[in-house]
């Protein structure tokens, strides 16, 4: 009887440590704990060009991550890129004249949406739209313009 009880204890320890390992992976390694959909609100921003922005790209304000991109679609009427931003409800005091711009973290880093608050007294509401936007800087375009400009200057 003592033998089976020892065995039961060890099996119990094994199962507990296995579940603890999986729990550790879920809560400590993955993004499960950081954001859930319940405590966030969605706003829309329309960009001329959203560049390399992807679903799940971070949304940050003053360098702090406050949300993520939930969907990106093309509007066939205005020819703009419609980006849905899900922002943590803790940060529900963003003014409605906030500027949204697509930035790149470092030279080769991932692209993210940066929110710069304006001075308005009214706040952005759930389902609202950020009207002032700034497109992504396309590196190839900028280099192309620069080369074109310097070539034109040499001709003079």
């Amino acid at each position: 009887m003592q033998h089976t009880r020892n065995q039961d204890t060890l099996v119990g320890l094994f199962v507990a440590s296995g579940i603890a390992g999986l729990f550790f992976l879920a809560m400590h390694v993955s993004n499960l704990s950081s954001f859930s959909d319940e405590d966030s609100y969605t706003v829309t921003a329309k960009f001329e060009n959203s560049g390399g922005l992807k679903v799940k790209s971070p949304v940050s304000a003053a360098g702090v991550k406050i949300g993520k991109v939930t969907s990106i679609s093309f509007d066939p009427k205005t020819y703009k890129s419609v980006v849905q931003l899900s922002i943590n409800s803790k940060y529900n005091t963003l003014p409605d004249d906030t500027t949204a711009s697509v930035f790149t973290a470092g030279l080769l880093g991932e692209q993210y949406v940066n929110l710069e608050p304006g001075g308005s007294e009214t706040y952005l509401k759930k389902g609202g739209e950020i009207e002032i936007t700034q497109s992504a800087i396309i590196l190839e375009k900028a280099i192309g313009q620069f080369l074109f400009k310097s070539a034109a200057e040499e001709k003079k």
């Binding site: 039961d8 099996v11 199962v15 440590s17 999986l22 390694v29 993955s30 993004n31 991550k65």
Partner: protein, 259 residues
């Protein structure tokens, strides 16, 4: 002509073996209810399959994580991207190395033991003896071992990945000076619960299913001599390794294909 004949014979034999293996699997699964009636059979097998593999899995996981930390650091520091070490270690462990390496170790540690045990039971006519006493050897012997493998495998893979990530952190931020906060926060930002962790767990369940199936069938199907049992044990390890690695490729293509 001899070659064509040989090909035909070997495909007939492997087709026959596949059929027997499938029949064996169906019988095994249909015995699941009787294991619920006698859970002590299951805990006994969980002990010999899971608890006995615990140590090898933990130690291997720790070292695999530490090596990943070292190698990742050397490569990433060339690009000044040491902070993403956590992402690299966690993604490779959770998606690939955790399920695959723990399944290979499981096949070597527990699978070979299962084959040898059942092969020897068959060689010493214990299985026939049970049938004489009107006890179904599949329900009494095979199904508890199969279920124990199926339950142990995801737990072992979870332990492997968790210990490996901690090992990578010990080497990365303890020895090489990667910022500890960056190690964890970059990891949490990039690893997705459903895409990465759940898919890793699904992989390990599939591997556990296949590895236990192969081990038990090879033992049950072994030629009942000492040489036959030794060959069956070898086949278990070789076939499990092939199947696990092949299935891993297919599962990875299906799960992570759209990234």
């Amino acid at each position: 002509m001899d070659f064509i004949e040989g090909l035909g014979r070997s495909s007939r034999i492997s087709f026959n073996k596949l059929g027997r293996a499938t029949h064996f699997l169906i019988q095994t699964i249909s015995g699941v209810m009787s294991v619920f009636m006698r859970p002590r059979l299951l805990t006994k097998q969980l002990y010999s399959v899971g608890v006995m593999s615990f140590l090898i899995i933990t130690i291997s996981g720790l070292f695999v994580g530490m090596v990943l930390g070292l190698q990742g650091y050397y490569t990433l520091s060339d690009f000044g991207a040491e902070e993403t070490l956590g992402v690299m270690v966690a993604a490779s462990l959770v998606r690939e190395l955790g399920p695959v390496v723990s399944a290979l170790l499981f096949a070597g540690r527990a699978g070979s033991a299962l084959t040898a045990e059942i092969g020897l039971m068959k060689a010493t006519e214990q299985l026939s003896g049970m049938e004489m006493m009107a006890i179904d050897p599949i329900k009494r012997i095979i199904t508890p071992r199969f279920l124990a493998g199926l339950i142990s495998m995801p737990l072992l893979a979870g332990i492997f990945s968790a210990v490996g990530i901690i090992g990578g952190q010990i080497v990365g931020s303890g020895l090489l000076g990667v910022d500890e906060g960056a190690y964890w926060s970059q990891m949490q930002a990039s690893i997705d619960f459903y895409d990465d962790i759940i898919n890793g767990v699904i992989k390990s369940i599939v591997f556990g299913f296949v590895a236990s199936w192969i081990a038990l069938f090879e033992g049950y199907d072994a030629i009942p001599t000492s040489e036959g049992v030794s060959r069956a044990t070898t086949r278990t390890v070789v076939n499990s390794a092939f199947t696990i690695l092949g299935l891993d490729f297919i599962l990875t293509a299906l799960m992570f294909g759209d990234h």
